[in-house]
Point group: none
Chain length 505, copies 2
């Protein structure tokens, strides 16, 4: 590398490190808000979050960033850079071009609004009061519409949002993938509904001590290989994972007395996210590549642990005894196979996060379609509860009795995360395709799981996915790991096989 | 106010708000490090803290800040500003001028040195090895001597340092105050040593359940009027209070199985600090005035609650029953008066932080006199252990058997905090003087305390002290509240009366 380029790259590295410092501070301020910050500090905190996000935004869009990325994008310079360096430049350039179109004060205002709106949403959900949330959500949508114009409409307005979470994937592609998936899942769900072999879930309707739930969560996270010296487990209303740096990746879960599976599978889910962030290669720390490459790939890691491992029979062959020891009164007389069937019970529930891994995809399709309506067809926020309920009736055969169990259930929109939901279902599809490869490369997989030997799985995922961080794109990852592009049939195959057996179809 | 000045002030307010946002983020990052941040994230976190502190420093010393404060310091502008606005400008200008005077590269070198020296000090303390720390401390002193020249010598060189923590107080004044205090306390300590009426403290040498200690801490903080919707209580190795904003003032304590008083009085102490920060007037939020006016006045608030209320007989007349209920096994057979005497036991300990409220002041006077010798008389760092031990013998009648129990015990000097120690004793004096006034204005004070009616005390302190934040100077506060300048006799009177009775002198 030329000496002058080397010196510029050193300056650029320091600049990136500064950005990553802002991101760490912002993430901690958010984490703190969700895990126990005092109520009366929220207003000032919102301002601080807005200010710091504004500063980060300024760094992402500064003339200095423009000059750095312009220099490093010149063909004669690019060929002197490593592939990781080129990916850093490419991502920064994309962000720069996307963001510099938004006036800093508009972005700051938006950040303040969305921080505030999340608190409002929490209260609105608690009080089943959509009306109090609606003006905030309307403002957020208006901001997003404004931003889409700044960013530039891709194929449709909604494509622009989708691209932020799953780079390069288009509405046309997702439409095709989702319709293929829906066409295979809907008959399966109908067959299950008609099956007389329903699992007995009555034993789950007991009181499960919260402290024991916490102990079991901590135990199972340790078994997965979650590093407690590089993270911590807390409680929050809506479980989440947040990586401040690979040495500090925090997760939350929630403990509901009357819902044991919720805490267990939330912990496995967030643990899957956390393993991804904890195992990014140290070389990438302090750059923009030290995280998951897309929301979809991120979600594949959480779903793989939550469902494909965590709801498998081999997993509970090993861990059901431990669970029984945590809840002897409730589970001593419940057989393993009955437990396994119960936690895989398919039902048309109102709440996405409490739904089974099969109908889950239908919950996502509802949200995906509604978001498309908002941004491509001008659906108003006022109409959301009605449209929401109609779609639930259409796809799941149920109508939510309240907004709390309907349109108010998810945090995402309060934070402006439109375009995000599709990632959840994409994650399921990525995960099934990865599992298919893992199983080929590790034929003794079920035996390992049944022996509680989970670390080889973690290591395989680290080697194939985690360590790369954002250095590879989602399309590159899925192609390199599995040898083919995203294919919804792996998920459909997996679900058909699993549920045909479970429901004796 | 002229329109152009008004507009400039609005810009300045935004600028201050930004500074205050950085401070909130820095405070939370620190709080988090001390209350449970994962070990493996510490290195990245340190970098982030350094970066954000650097950004804040840049804001404090920018040309923009220079221009703002220059404009607002013009006589024709000053007369258009409120007294609060003028105080904001004065404080910002002082900080600006002080920081600007040091060449950036010298300050950077010093920051690196002091960060390093704190680690060296930790090891030196652990290994009882002053010699390994000495060269670092010598360099820190040399830097401080250099900085004093940059900052400008006030009356004496040490005055310049003292002023950073207790604005406007001079060495001449503190000398007079401390010598007067010392002359009254030394004979009192001697009389107590000779007294045959020593309290029995043996019942404190039991095991006290940590969870019960926590419950009692929470209870007693609630009684003081600490607002849990504007704060939270956590555990850390060294107890502290930190105000992120008046709506978010957090405290920590520590629970030691074999030391009940430590948690109880740490909670009261930090609770006293927290009441101050929680009750700053909302008008001052987001300015540089939204905190305590000096280290000494801050310490007066913690000491008042910890000692003058928390170690008083009326207080335990009300709360001892509650404490007994938390620890029936350990305290059921201990009489109130014996408990009261035990928690006020005077002993000549080597360690400042473990000393009683009487000898504590002598620990401080030793440090104050040594710091003065260093900066005004050229005492070398090599001589410190010898001088330290001689002064302990002179004032406390004991000679530390090791530097670990002597000159190496405190973190302050390793971080360059010379001039800070005096504040601790000034706090005791301010507190005693305030209590004297409070007692005059509220003659039924002891009855209120004995009835657990503590809120009138909190309200009085808020009205007289807390709400002003930094809008009044320490000298203005003590004069406005008590009608006279700081007078050490109130503390001496209080201690003489209390301990004469306790030890039947």
């Amino acid at each position: 590398m030329e000496e002058s380029i080397k010196l510029e790259w050193e300056k650029f590295s320091k600049y990136l490190l500064k950005m990553s410092g802002y991101l760490e501070a912002i993430s901690l301020l958010h984490w703190d808000l969700r895990t126990g910050a005092p109520r009366k500090g929220v207003e000032v905190r919102s301002g601080t979050l807005g200010m710091l996000s504004g500063e980060l935004f300024r760094l992402e869009t500064s003339e200095e960033m423009g000059a750095f990325t312009e220099l490093f994008s010149r063909p004669e310079v690019m060929e002197q850079l490593s592939s990781v360096q080129n990916k850093i430049v490419k991502d920064c350039r994309k962000e720069y071009e996307r963001s510099k179109s938004i006036p800093a004060e508009r972005y700051e205002e938006y950040s303040k609004l969305s921080a505030h709106a999340q608190t409002i949403w929490e209260e609105a959900k608690e009080n089943n009061d959509f009306a109090s949330f609606e003006p905030f959500l309307s403002q957020i949508v208006a901001f997003k519409q404004e931003f889409i114009d700044y960013w530039g409409v891709k194929n449709t307005r909604y494509d622009t949002l989708l691209d932020m979470y799953e780079p390069d994937l288009t509405v046309t592609e997702v439409d095709a993938i989702f319709s293929r998936l829906r066409n295979r899942l809907v008959p399966l769900v109908e067959a299950i509904s008609a099956s007389p072999n329903k699992p007995d879930t009555s034993f789950l309707q007991q009181i499960f001590d919260k402290e024991q739930q916490q102990k079991f969560s901590l135990f199972i996270l340790g078994q997965m290989g979650y590093d407690f010296e590089a993270g911590r487990l807390d409680e929050s209303v809506h479980p989440f994972a947040t990586g401040l740096s690979p040495g500090d990746v925090r997760i939350t879960t929630h403990y509901l007395q009357d819902n044991l599976p919720s805490a267990v599978f939330s912990s496995l889910h967030e643990g899957g996210h956390a393993l991804y962030e904890q195992n990014v290669s140290p070389d990438l720390v302090g750059t923009v590549l030290a995280g998951g490459t897309s929301m979809g790939i991120h979600e594949s890691q959480s779903r793989l642990w939550e469902n494909m491992i965590g709801r498998s029979l081999p997993f509970w062959e090993r861990y059901y005894g431990d669970l029984q020891q945590h809840f002897p009164e409730q589970l001593a007389n419940v057989e393993l196979v009955d437990f396994y069937r119960a936690i895989n019970s398919v039902g048309n529930s109102f709440i996405r996060t409490e739904s089974d891994e099969l109908t889950y995809n239908l919950h996502i399709i509802v949200r995906y379609e509604i978001e498309k309506l908002i941004f491509n067809e001008g659906l108003s926020v006022q109409e959301l509860p009605e449209v929401w309920n109609a779609k639930y009736q259409q796809y799941l055969g149920i109508t939510p009795p309240s907004d709390q169990l309907g349109v108010l259930q998810d945090v995402h929109w309060s934070g402006g995360d439109f375009g995000y939901f599709a990632s959840y279902s994409l994650g399921n599809m990525y995960a099934a395709q990865m599992m298919h490869t893992l199983r080929k490369e590790m034929p003794e997989l079920d035996e390992l799981i049944a022996a509680g030997n989970l670390l080889p799985i973690k290591e395989w995922l680290t080697e194939k996915i985690h360590r790369h961080g954002r250095a590879l794109t989602p399309a590159e990852i899925i192609l390199e790991v599995t040898g083919e592009p995203l294919n919804p049939d792996y998920l459909a195959d997996y679900l058909e096989a699993k549920y045909t057996e479970l429901y004796k179809l």
